[in-house]
């Protein structure tokens, strides 16, 4: 298997942890995996990007524009910002959350309409999957599990055994949050596998 993922979002959303786990899953699946991130000012509410590549042998740690199989966006606007990295026919997995950038709150720009954004994404992607990460994480027990919900959804988009993902997540989180994260993972997964249940 060979897969390119691009994880994007806003500093503080857990984007880097999620991409770390996704890279580890690649290793656990017996592939080579590399991960690369840019996070300079991210703590200060800036954009975070993290590339994850799985292949039998990976060269560059970053994807090339037009080769991303799954764009994993933790925020609606960021999905739109990074859409041109997607491979034609690729999948966008987007967490249904709006985080207002300073450019909007000071009035220099307008946060686009949600439907218009999704329409723009659908016109460009093979498939757009929207997940209510915040809502499901809250239901699982903590809003901080948004990234686990997103990973659950991602696992359902790939032909990979869910146990591998679940184990990689549990290894990474503090033991007292294991159950919450397990729940969050399955909620994210179910949101893709059985969205109407």
């Amino acid at each position: 298997m060979q897969k390119n993922f691009l994880f994007v979002g806003v500093g503080g959303q857990g984007v880097l942890t999620a991409s770390d786990i996704a890279a580890q899953v690649g290793i656990d699946l017996g592939l080579e995996a590399k991960k690369s991130e840019i996070h300079g000012f991210a703590q200060r509410g800036g954009v975070v990007e993290s590339h994850v590549r799985w292949a039998p042998r990976v060269g560059s740690p970053t994807c090339e524009k037009g080769t991303v199989d799954v764009l994993v966006a933790f925020e609606l606007l960021e999905a739109a910002r990074w859409i041109e990295w997607l491979r034609p026919g690729g999948t966008v997995l987007v967490n249904d959350q709006k985080i207002t950038p300073m450019s909007v709150s000071v009035g220099d720009a307008v946060y686009p309409d949600r439907e218009a954004l999704l329409k723009g994404l659908r016109a460009r992607a093979g498939r757009v999957v929207v997940v209510d990460g915040l809502g499901l994480a809250e239901k699982a027990g903590t809003v901080r599990a948004v990234n686990t919900v997103v990973l659950g959804a991602l696992s359902a988009l790939l032909e990979t055994p869910p146990e591998v993902w679940e184990e990689a997540i549990i290894r990474r989180v503090p033991p007292r949050y294991a159950d919450i994260n397990r729940a969050a993972f399955h909620m994210g997964r179910d949101a893709v596998v059985a969205p109407n249940r």
């Binding site: 560059s60 740690p61 606007l77 491979r87 034609p88 950038p101 307008v110």
Partner: protein, 597 residues
Amino acid sequence: MKRLLSGNEAIALGAWEAGVRYATAYPGTPSTEVLENLAQYAGVRAEWAANEKVALDAAAGAAFGGARALAAMKHVGVNVAADSLMSLSYTGVRGGLVLVSADDPGAFSSQNEQDNRQYARFGKFPCLEPSDSEEARQFTRLAFDLSERFQCPVMVRSTTRLSHSKSPVEVEMPGEHRQQEPLPPFERHPDRYVIIPAVARRRHPEIEQRLLAIAEWGETAPLNRIEWGDRSLGIITCGMAYQHVRELFAGYSILKLGMVHPLPGRMIREFAAQVERLVVVEELDPVIEEQVRAMGIEVAAGKEFFPLCGEFTLEKVRQAALKAGLPVAPMPEQVEPLTEPVVPPRPPALCPGCPHRAFFYNLRRWRKQAVFSGDIGCYSMGFLPPFDAMDMLISMGASIGMAHGLKQAGAQEKVIAIIGDSTFFHAGLSPLASTVYNRGNIVVAVLDNRITAMTGGQQHPGTGITLQGEEGRRIEIAPVARAMGVEHIWEVDAWDVKEIGRALREAMAVEDGPSVVVVRGACVFTPYFQQRPVVAVDLETCTACGTCFRVGCPAILKSEVIDERANKPKATIDPLLCTGCTVCLQVCPVGAIYETG
């Protein structure tokens, strides 16, 4: 066991495996995690130094004593340490001395894109450049051996992409606690380690000989290797560029240089002779290409195609290769960017609760009468709207010297230097001494947030806690300024808008020497920061005047409610982001913001 490690984690692991005894650094993106990781290993003394020169000097002392020592810094940090670095090449060392230089092609978080391989040429010492985390581990280990074998400092050069990428590394974590014996008695070698002119003149030819010997070693060392493939094209490459090349030019011949200085001349000649077309693909400066050309070897494509500026990506290298007519696959088909609706930018901003906010808000009223001389830290964001309060910024600690010089040259305006606590200890002390001594007349604002914030929260002399979590000795800024002869000093609360305003007014009025205003308030990411009940907007009272938007707080948003008279949206505050710092409450002219607690 294979584990995913970042380049910086792997460098730390390699250093530990090599038995490093002493490691030190000043934090700087993308190098910071090298020391943070080394600090976790048993048996290593790891410290933050006040600046990069102190770090290298301290590592040098350890190496003179026979210990293996490491200093880590970002590329521009090497500029600070360069004076000692050049001497160290001449003195040589006894214990292995490794300098980790983390460069920043793309200038993701730096003031320039300087290529520190040039320092290795300049200083005549070897430079190793890994291409992934496994090599980062191996090359760092090797660097210590090389340093001892040839008795010279060795640079391990990383880049942002290597330092902050994770790739699999073979880790055998023994978990044993290494006990450090005391060093053997100091061996005196003043004929080498005291680099007076007579010694320097004698050492110089020895250094030139040493460089030739190292190049000879590199001819057969496995870190330089040829991957033979189709010989119609041969590519010489190194570092992260190798990964792009390996992927894009799969099947062709590659000469991968793990030691980028000195170069293995015979190996390069043999490689060039056996390929039809020779290409050099290296990020930033044509360090290898120029030397290959100087050897009289024809280079079919180099910097005229592969960009001199910016970070290499698969896309950039492919584009350049296509332009050069080299055999790579065409650009992948791309999805069209989203232009409708317009995607607004997401610039960085001072965090909600940030102790710099009230200070910068106050600077607005000085815009017409003062020049703002800035420095490096989170407060560099004072440059951004809505503050627009930074007129010059060049390097760590430069704010004070620039302010002093501008004033001495006859500036009509007041000049205010803006510097952080960690930066003050890094390179602010000497320019303050110089200003006091020359009776300069500037205001120095030290924004003391009790942490090195921009790099993610590292300790420094002003916090008094060491890298390994011990109680050190805390140095207070105001007493230091007083001891240095500053007569006018204010210490103010970072969240008290009026108090800061008053101190600035009084400091600006001083005519007989420099004044120092210490703005004290802990960064929101430190344990000292006190979260308070959030504040909220009373929509009845709010007149949509927009004053609170000008404090530039990410928690203050435009509400859906439009004020009829102003025909503008009233403000609202996101309770999840608000920290209760009350700066917006203090500036609201109509008292529409109230504390909820």
